[in-house]
């Protein structure tokens, strides 16, 4: 915990530091109410923000505003947060809805993203399959973080891996999305994996 030394302790400062020249993004994905916004909020240096995008009900043409106002449009919200990693580099974490109908939104969010952290509820593992499918379809490498909710019985991570049908290389961690250190450890696991993967592909 604590503020970055270059941010003058202003954890709630609106603007980026003057020297920030590059931004990267990581998606935090999962089904409804799995804790995406909680995790983003635990790590973000700013209060989590929400943007809305307008979509047709079919999710076909998010940024085609011509039909806006009609009955066939809806909005989808993305919650996101920010973490200044060093004076030049900032990380944005986008909480992404898992619904398949938000394909266009997903393309926008996934473009250039480093990877995704799939947040899963051990009591609702089946709900995570479609989310993992979406991540894979968009070509994003990912790690799975099982959110440990209060009252959840202890579980066996090997059994979880089997239940989720994960590749041997896909990391799986257990975390408490409310806890900054725990949420941070999950994100670190993801980035370590991304680095290992990148080193393998481009030695």
């Amino acid at each position: 915990m604590g503020s970055a030394p270059w941010s003058d302790g202003r954890r709630d400062a609106v603007y980026l530091g003057d020297a920030v020249e590059r931004a990267v993004k990581i998606l935090i994905v999962g089904h409804f109410a799995v804790g995406k916004t909680t995790l983003v909020g635990a790590l973000s240096e700013i209060p989590p923000l929400r943007t809305e995008e307008i979509m047709t009900q079919a999710g076909a043409a998010v940024d085609d505003l011509a039909g806006v106002g009609g009955k066939d449009t809806t909005t989808v919200a993305m919650d996101f947060g920010r973490l200044t990693l060093n004076p030049r580099l900032v990380l944005y974490m986008f909480g992404a809805p898992g619904q398949r109908r938000f394909q266009r939104l997903w393309r926008d969010m996934a473009y250039g993203a480093l990877g995704a952290l799939v947040l899963a509820d051990p009591r609702r593992l089946d709900a995570s399959f479609s989310v993992m499918d979406m991540v894979e379809e968009h070509g994003l490498p990912y790690a799975v973080a099982v959110n440990r909710f209060d009252g959840t019985p202890a579980f066996d991570t090997d059994a979880l891996r089997t239940a989720l049908d994960l590749l041997a290389e896909t990391p799986l961690v257990v975390c408490d999305a409310r806890d900054r250190a725990s949420a941070g450890a999950a994100l670190i696991t993801l980035v370590q994996y991304l680095l290992t993967r990148a080193a393998k592909e481009h030695p």
């Binding site: 590059r22 993004k25 011509a66 592909e201």
Partner: protein, 121 residues
């Protein structure tokens, strides 16, 4: 006098952008933009709409991502991109960091992210 209006009103986006649905410049959610340094507060065309004025007022404070601008102004991301594109063309907005490259993976960048996270959390 204009009556207070709801920012999330869905009827307005098409009007706000002058009927255009797409931004000419391909902004990403995490493109970083800032007001051009030599833009005086009143250096805008008298016909400039209130959304562009609000956007400029926000961006004069410092650099922000496209997603943050959309959130602070309570405008849809698509609309925000169109406004930013216009304001770039008119010289009011500068992109500090363009859309992220798609040629993943970048080992040096990932190491920098990892080091940053380890130091912070």
């Amino acid at each position: 006098m204009t009556a207070p209006r709801r920012d999330s009103d869905l009827v307005r986006p098409y009007v706000v952008t002058g009927g255009r649905a797409h931004a000419r410049i391909p902004f990403d959610l995490v493109s970083l933009v800032v007001a051009a340094g030599d833009t005086p507060p009143r250096g805008m065309d008298p016909g400039t709409g209130p959304e562009k004025r609000r956007l400029m007022a926000l961006c004069r404070g410092g650099a922000l991502s496209v997603a943050e601008i959309a959130a602070h102004l309570a405008l849809p991301v698509g609309v925000t991109k169109v406004l930013l594109s216009d304001l770039t063309d008119s010289g009011h907005i500068i992109t500090r960091s363009p859309a992220p490259p798609t040629d993943r993976p970048d080992i040096q960048l990932l190491q920098e992210v990892l080091d940053g996270l380890r130091a912070l959390v």
